[in-house]
């Protein structure tokens, strides 16, 4: 269906269902319960899940298929964000032109960077892309300040021209990013008993674009073009000896991947119209690599899972402070309580990087194929014990 094989279609359907019902799935705990701390179903985080999902899907087209490890994808993310914000400043607050421009500009960027970087492969390619990304970051921070507004970040203001829109709303506020009048930040809260679910316009717009990107990525994976890219990964020399020039293929993959990143950057700006130079820093590039490896490089759904995993940690674990930990273990006697809090302390709050790092190590060591491999192992085991459902399986990641 839709040109997809049966299994791919099932997978696509699954992702679609997950995306549509995310507000329910991510808010499993009643609002007033102690576990509400772990709810992730608020608009900002859900938007981040799908937007970074797009980024990781795009990265995976390059890294998963051709094996070229780009360490500079954050540059495209940042360029996409800046283009989108400029579109909001100059043209209108509609997200469509912003997204289009961010994809075009990041695509052009990718052609230039790719043309130079792809002359080398392996570690040299990674270093070249890293260098380009850091160069963009430093330019955005200093020389290009008139375009990027430096450290403060590019924001929309009341006196922007906005040729097709209005500079300020009737009541003197800054207009809101919208899709033909549908405001990105608008959302509906539905209360069901003790549960509260938030349905955000911005999230669903981003989710639909994510599904389209996911669909495109499946088609690329299954196409002859995708096969060529895999051939490059397995043995590039053999390709050359058979008389095929691999470079146009790698460049095409690089540009597609860069445009995915630009799309993600543009969407970030659509949800929150600000672009900061930090988006281009090397840590941001590293994060994409982590997402893809964590989820499972070269698989279709892996990068999306990895993106969700990392964003969940960044936003939920980092907010658990000592006060919260104390309230968890307050039933213990005083001395032991402080001891337990002392043990948990380095792993939560600002120590979330440590927890993430440990998990990353565990996954790379025990599940080289990422979260997807973990899922496959569980599925295999369950199939073996067909019918005898004795073992309660846990995700190795946790």
């Amino acid at each position: 269906m839709f040109g997809l094989g049966k299994r791919d279609f099932t997978l696509f359907l699954l992702v679609a269902v997950l995306a549509i019902f995310a507000p329910f799935i991510l808010n499993p705990f009643p609002t007033d319960s102690a576990m509400a701390q772990f709810n992730a179903g608020y608009p900002d985080l859900m938007q981040r899940f799908v937007i970074f999902g797009i980024l990781a899907i795009g990265f995976n087209i390059l890294f998963g298929l051709t094996g070229y490890l780009s360490f500079g994808h954050a540059a495209f993310l940042g360029v996409g964000s800046y283009s989108a914000v400029w579109m909001f400043k100059l043209l209108s607050m509609n997200v469509i032109p912003a997204i289009l421009l961010s994809m075009i500009v990041s695509g052009l960027f990718a052609v230039v960077i790719g043309y130079v970087s792809l002359r080398r492969s392996g570690i040299y390619f990674s270093i070249l892309t890293l260098a380009f990304a850091q160069m963009s970051y430093n330019l955005a921070y200093s020389v290009l300040t008139p375009i990027t507004n430096g450290e403060t970040g590019l924001q929309i203001t009341l006196d922007d021209p906005r040729l097709l829109g209005v500079s300020a709303t009737a009541d003197g506020g800054i207009p809101v990013t919208n899709l033909f009048g549908l405001e990105m930040r608008a959302y509906e809260t539905v209360t069901m008993g003790p549960w509260e679910f938030q349905f955000s316009v911005g999230y669903y717009v981003a989710a639909i674009i994510m599904l389209a990107s996911f669909y495109l990525s499946i088609r690329i994976f299954r196409s002859p073009f995708g096969m060529m890219l895999r051939a490059i990964k397995s043995n590039q020399n053999r390709l050359y000896y058979t008389g095929l020039n691999a470079k146009p293929y790698t460049l095409a993959a690089f540009v597609i991947s860069g445009m995915y990143a630009g799309l993600a950057g543009g969407l970030l700006a659509c949800m929150d119209p600000l672009a900061g130079a930090e988006r281009m820093q090397w840590t941001a590039s590293g994060e994409v690599v982590l997402m893809t490896i964590l989820g499972g490089a070269g698989t279709l759904i892996g990068p999306v899972l990895g993106a969700g995993f990392i964003k969940y940690f960044e936003n939920i674990f980092s907010k658990i402070n000592d006060q919260v930990v104390h309230s968890w273990v307050s039933f213990l006697p005083d001395g032991i309580e402080d001891f337990v809090v002392g043990i948990i302390h380095p792993f939560v709050g600002k120590g979330w990087h440590l927890t993430l790092g440990l998990m990353f190590m565990a996954i790379v060591i025990f599940l080289p194929g990422g979260l997807v491999e973990g899922g496959q192992r569980i599925a295999r085991r369950l199939r073996k014990r067909d019918g005898t459902k004795t073992e309660t399986s846990t995700t190795p990641a946790e």
Partner: protein, 448 residues
């Protein structure tokens, strides 16, 4: 290819279940997870404290968080009440705000605009924070202020010294108690003239972002009005840690004053470098070479150690002030944490009290009512003498301190001495002053 058994749903469920073991049984205290509404229902109201917990300003952030915890304690009737007792407004009565117990959530800005906005967004959307406050960088303050305006909550700025925060980037929902670069210039200039004369040649090193730019502009204007000459102004990257290559050219430039428009770790490093190069022993143009640090803080003075002795600068507040408000604050902060508060802690504590008081006086958490209550509000007893929250730009006007690194500190906290308390009239400026023009408050946004 992937099997579909491991879904995001499964992953998150198991993730949450895995941690459930830790969390049960629990007593639910904070985070009334009401999404984005302005009227808190139920018994508590949530404030969002968004401070740098990692990165170059982490010291300031930690101190800000201490001040916030103290303010919440006082608002809820705990502790000795601190400045509530000396505050000129007696609306607050120690049973929370408007009868709601005060709860809070914290977040890490990482001193990055993006991270700060994400953190503030999650406080507003997930934890139902009605007000966001904190931050130790003007870049972050401007970014978060913009977000709060869009989201329809009040932003009470923490430590931010750039003219732009209440200048070209001012917002109706944002308020700043801290002083700004223009005020530093206006307060410092007369003291500089008195101490170093009116015939000086200045060389600026400036942190390359909104705060550095506006401070350089302000100090340059103030000193040139005295008759000083500006030899050169050099921008340095914020991430710079070694300033030797920037200090060396100063030696042969013919300048006899070095002005360091640096803050936090930047200032500690640049000042140390300058002293190592022997700048302070030099005699240029027949005059003793001097170094000026326009924005000074005790945390920085501690970082720079010996080098700060005799260096002039300005500060918003210092714990050695002897008015009733400052004494009460130092007393309760010291009792709780064992050391005196920094200026960052002071401004954050005061901002929380001012917000709570405005809500109490307005009788409502509605941001527009709060804006109205704060605009043009005159108060006293919070450590800076009589203060005005000006309606035109939401900037506080109060006395500014000119301080000097102490020659003989008696303790590790007694590092600065107050040279002069510049009266409020001397640091005031018109709302349409060229250094502050170009922006508009817009109208207050109560959100959805």
């Amino acid at each position: 290819m992937s099997k579909s058994t491991l879904s995001r749903r499964g992953l998150l469920k198991t993730g949450a279940l895995g941690t459930a073991g830790l969390a049960v049984p629990t007593i639910f205290t904070a985070s009334s997870a009401r999404a984005f509404t302005n009227a808190p229902s139920g018994g508590s109201v949530t404030l969002g404290f968004n401070v740098p917990q990692t990165g170059p300003y982490a010291d300031e952030g930690a101190d800000e968080l201490r001040a916030y915890e103290l303010a919440v304690e006082h608002l809820n009737g705990g502790g000795d009440g601190g400045m509530l007792n000396t505050f000129s407004s007696k609306a607050l009565n120690g049973v929370g705000i408007n009868g709601h117990k005060v709860a809070y959530v914290t977040g890490d800005t990482q001193t990055k605009s993006d991270a700060a906005r994400a953190s503030a967004k999650s406080m507003i959307e997930k934890d139902g924070a009605i007000m966001i406050t904190g931050g130790s960088s003007s870049g972050v303050a401007v970014a978060v202020q913009g977000l709060c305006q869009e989201a329809g909550v009040i932003f009470m700025a923490g430590l931010t010294h750039s003219n732009d925060t209440t200048g070209k980037d001012k917002k109706a929902n944002g308020f700043r108690h801290f002083f700004n670069a223009y005020m530093s210039g206006a307060a410092l200039a007369p003291v500089l003239a008195k101490q170093y004369g009116t015939d000086r040649k200045a060389y600026h090193l400036t942190a390359d972002y909104t705060w550095g730019w506006t401070q350089e502009e302000s100090i340059m204007a103030a000193t040139e009005a005295l008759g000083w000459e500006t030899i050169e102004a050099v921008k340095t990257p914020l991430a710079q840690t070694d300033f030797s290559s920037y200090i060396a050219p100063v030696l042969n430039s013919g300048a006899d004053v070095l002005i360091l428009n640096h803050y936090g770790g930047n200032m500690v490093n640049s000042l140390t470098n300058a002293v190592q190069f022997g700048l302070r022993e030099k005699v240029v143009n027949g005059k003793q070479f001097e170094i000026v640090v326009p924005l000074f803080s005790r945390l920085m003075a501690r970082g720079a150690g010996e080098s700060v002795k005799g260096i002039l600068g300005s500060t918003n507040w210092h714990w050695s002030l002897q008015d009733e408000g400052s004494k009460a604050f130092v007393q309760s902060f010291g009792t709780k944490y064992g050391f005196p508060p920094s200026q960052a802690a002071h401004t954050c504590y005061v901002q929380t009290l001012l917000y709570a008081d405005a809500v109490q006086r307005a009788g409502s958490f509605d941001p527009c009512a709060v804006v109205e209550a704060l605009e043009g509000y005159e108060f006293d007893g919070l450590g800076n003498g009589p203060t005005l929250y000006r309606a035109e730009d939401h900037q506080c006007f109060k006395d500014v301190l000119v301080v000097r690194g102490k020659e003989n500190p008696t303790s590790e906290f007694d590092l600065l001495e107050v040279v002069e308390i510049t009266p409020r009239a001397q640091v005031e400026y018109a709302p349409d002053h060229p250094m502050f023009s170009g922006g508009a408050l817009g109208s207050c946004n109560p959100g959805a």
